[in-house]
Symmetry: C2
Subunit: 297 residues, 2 copies
């Protein structure tokens, strides 16, 4: 099996696990449950649960207490998209070719569906305690998981991003890196660190994974900025050059294309080399990280 086939197989396995934790659409609250399922089942690469599962395996994890966490991180990711798409936020009507949740279910129900998924993520994650894993490791994983999703993680990045939108060209490099590090990298760090913590990884290894997650997230976003300048609309599946048109501050406008390319490569190389430094290597994870940061669209 080549990498692509292995990845597709793993996506199907993860989707089967996520499905087990989604709510049955019944009861007098069934509309919010349907809106939640609609949002989660919109597809996607299930990147965060996949990274979590690979990190767990890499540190010798083989129990079932990982399963609720895999579903939980996808719920967190999904609720953030649902709220981000709201009219008061990015006001997006389509995502991955499907109508967004508030377009189908209305704004009030989309707010509730996001809240429902965020809460369900924790309801789901705590089920790990009943699955026979090590309670101390589960507690540690839960703490990391909660922190990286919150105001010192992803939500903090959303806040800075909203404020940057009103600042136009006055956005600084510090702000831009803060946004990428929190809005994007925090959940990648969460995936790697939560998975490893559940398998009993030591603090030193968790710190390494935090660096890897930071590098992946920031390199991914810089690549996004580079492709907006160098890619074609057909490659990207969205309008090329849109950042320039919107007078948006990006890593490329701040540092120039050449420096952006250099920094992106440095962050990527560092991520892969730290990953390779572990005694316990996971080749699929290494390939996955390579694919993420060298993508051309």
């Amino acid at each position: 099996m080549n990498f692509k086939e292995e990845q597709e197989k793993k996506v199907r396995e993860i989707e089967a696990i996520i499905s087990r934790y989604l709510p049955a659409e019944k009861g007098l609250q069934k509309t919010v449950l349907a809106a939640m399922n609609y949002s989660v089942l919109a597809g996607g690469k299930r990147l965060r649960p996949m990274l979590m599962r690979e990190a767990y395996a890499m540190f010798g994890g083989s129990g079932s207490e990982i399963a609720p966490f895999l579903a939980a991180i996808e719920m967190i990711h999904t609720y953030s998209l649902v709220h981000d798409d709201l009219p008061a936020m990015d006001n997006d009507e389509y995502r991955r070719g499907r109508k967004t949740t508030h377009v189908i279910y209305g704004e009030a129900m989309a707010i509730l569906a996001g809240d429902g998924l965020l809460n369900l993520a924790f309801e789901t994650a705590v089920q790990a305690f009943a699955l026979g894993g090590n309670a101390v490791q589960i507690g540690r994983a839960l703490t990391l998981f909660a922190q990286k999703a919150g105001v010192y993680g992803m939500i903090g990045g959303q806040c800075a991003d909203i404020e940057a939108e009103d600042m136009g060209s006055r956005v600084t490099e510090e702000q831009l890196l803060f946004i990428h590090a929190h809005k994007t990298a925090a959940l990648i760090q969460s995936a790697l660190m939560t998975g490893a913590a559940l398998a009993g990884a030591c603090e030193e290894d968790l710190a390494k994974l935090e660096t890897i997650g930071y590098n992946i997230g920031v390199a991914f976003q810089i690549q996004d900025d580079i492709l907006d300048v160098t890619g074609t609309t057909a490659d990207l599946g969205k309008s090329a050059g849109s950042d320039e048109k919107n007078h948006k501050v990006t890593y490329v406008t701040l540092k120039g294309l050449e420096q952006a390319r250099e920094d992106q490569k440095r962050l990527s190389r560092e991520a892969v080399s730290v990953l390779q430094s572990f005694g316990n290597r996971n080749l699929f994870l290494e390939q996955l990280v390579e694919a993420l940061i060298t993508r051309s669209h």
Copy 2:
């Protein structure tokens, strides 16, 4: 000290505990942190943490692991108000005489502040594991706490409430009771059950507390409906008769004033009598429950 003085003293103690868990307003995400603090510090009776603390004491709890849960339930309650007040939901500009969060901070930041508080509630609650309590009891409390806040608890009630608004006079008794049981009673059940579970209460006692919480929540809402018909605007601090004006289905419009009064009394009596049936009585808690369900405004 009379009941009123004792209650005021306890409110101050609880507010001191909540403050310890609120975020410092710094960093590039400080706006969302300020919006969260603004929302939590709007005041109020701190009823849910107070019920939780009394239930914990009633079952012999005397540790510090209750503290993060007291802050966490107030965060859950507060986020639900912030999101409920949004233009897409109830569109309220004032609450307790202060401008609502979205009026001050804008709609996008209010959505994020709600998300931030919901996530912080769990970040805070999991801190209990580090405070030396019994990990199994904390895990049980956390599970109850998460369930009662979610789609099978409070959020489920919000969903049914939103749908009822579009149904006008076609709202049924089943729907109305579902809304009261979930939107209002679920967090009262959470307070009582989480506090008791943290102190090691048995399943049978938790089931009794679930009944008490249901009765308090539903009796409280029926009393609201009664006062809207019988109270004066001066008593209520809001327009009397507003339900009739808005053609809103209430317990009184469904069952008549006399039956509503009878049912309210029955639910209240039952709540107090189950509470008194515990070997370990808590007189302050009994007085608090009495005050809640016999209020005249």
